[in-house]
Amino acid sequence: MKYALKSAAAMAAFSFILAGCASAPEPSPRLLAAEASLRVAKSDADTMESGRAPLEKAEIALRDARESYMGRETDNYEHSIRMGEGYMQLAEARGGQLEANRKIASLNTERADIVSEARRLEVARAEAATATAQAATANAQAATATARAATVGAEARANQSATVAAAALADTAAARADQAAAEARTDALRAELAGYEQQKTALGVTLILRDLQFTSGSAVLGAGAQGRLAPLAAFLAKQPDAKIQIAGHTDSQGGDAANMDLSARRAQSVAAYLGSTGVDMSRINAIGMGETAPTSTNDTAAGRAINRRVEVTILD
């Protein structure tokens, strides 16, 4: 009996220990992890906002899982914890969707702002391009105006050139007319003064009088000299504008100074005679050349006769 009581007490104690161990098993790491994940998910605003219903189901499922685990209902526990974990994933996915949708909305706003800015810049660029085009047009117009002005100037210059050319032509014509007149006068002179030896020089037409007689060694005209000068006097009377230069020349006989003096006085004598016929003395320039401009040799009598002369140049 005593043994029976002892055995019963021992059995009771063992049962109590077993019951204590069975009633409070340690939760599985998986269950603890799932419960921790649930707490985290519930603290996330997005997950709570969009996944409230799944989270509530997850909470219920995990509570069932804990009870099943404690009750050692393995299949029940496995099912409940799977459902709890699954509902949490569902809630997290919906929370992620909410966050993504918010991000998309924000990005769309950002993109719209950028597009708006791009359009504003495009408008600004277009306005700048228009302004540039207008400036280019203005420049082109200015260039056109300048070109027109240049054309007008060129035309004016052309007209001026034409005028100048016309004037030049007129001058040329006048010069030719003068030349023609001079040639005509020369021809007339030659005709009227045919009795004199003539030579065209740079100054005009020169009459060479070698046979004009002077008293030897003096400047006094000989008896025949006046008759020899008569045609010249008549010509000068008919040509009141004509001017003459009278140059006396000697041979080399005698001194230079004396010859210079003699030639000057002989030229003056001729001038005096012409003045006596009515020719204004202002039209006459008389000079002595002495022996400085011989036209032949002074070594022979014939040559010296050629060198002794009076030249009357009718100036052009």
Partner: protein
């Protein structure tokens, strides 16, 4: 007469309720799970939620097996799990698409900004 009619109606209702179409929730749940999983696009599912997709099909197979063993409770639980995984896959596919959209918009914005700067 009225009593006889009422009894006949009650018997008919009871018979209908007892028929397989109304009395096998495990089988109905299994069919719903199959339909839900078949509706998933395999490519999208594999890309967005490969583990969950695999779990859904695994649980469906287990549900079928349990149903074959006449383990209705187990089949019911596995098909419920399969439907939950299928729903997770669907939500993750949506999330994947949204993330792709975010990425595309961000790329577009970066391109726009480059164009603006240049």
């Amino acid at each position: 007469m009225r009593i006889a009619f009422a009894m006949a109606a009650a018997l008919l209702g009871g018979a209908l309720m007892a028929s397989p179409a109304f009395a096998d929730p495990a089988r109905d749940n299994l069919l719903r799970a199959e339909t839900q999983i078949q509706a998933l696009n395999p490519a999208d599912s594999s890309a967005a939620a490969p583990v969950d997709y695999r779990n859904a099909m695994l649980r469906l197979d287990e549900a079928r097996a349990a149903e074959g063993r006449n383990k209705d409770d187990e089949s019911l639980r596995r098909s419920n799990e399969a439907m939950l995984y299928a729903e997770i896959v669907q939500e993750k596919i949506k999330l994947h698409g949204l993330k792709r959209t975010v990425s595309e918009i961000e790329t577009g914005i970066a391109t726009l900004r480059r164009e603006l700067v240049s």
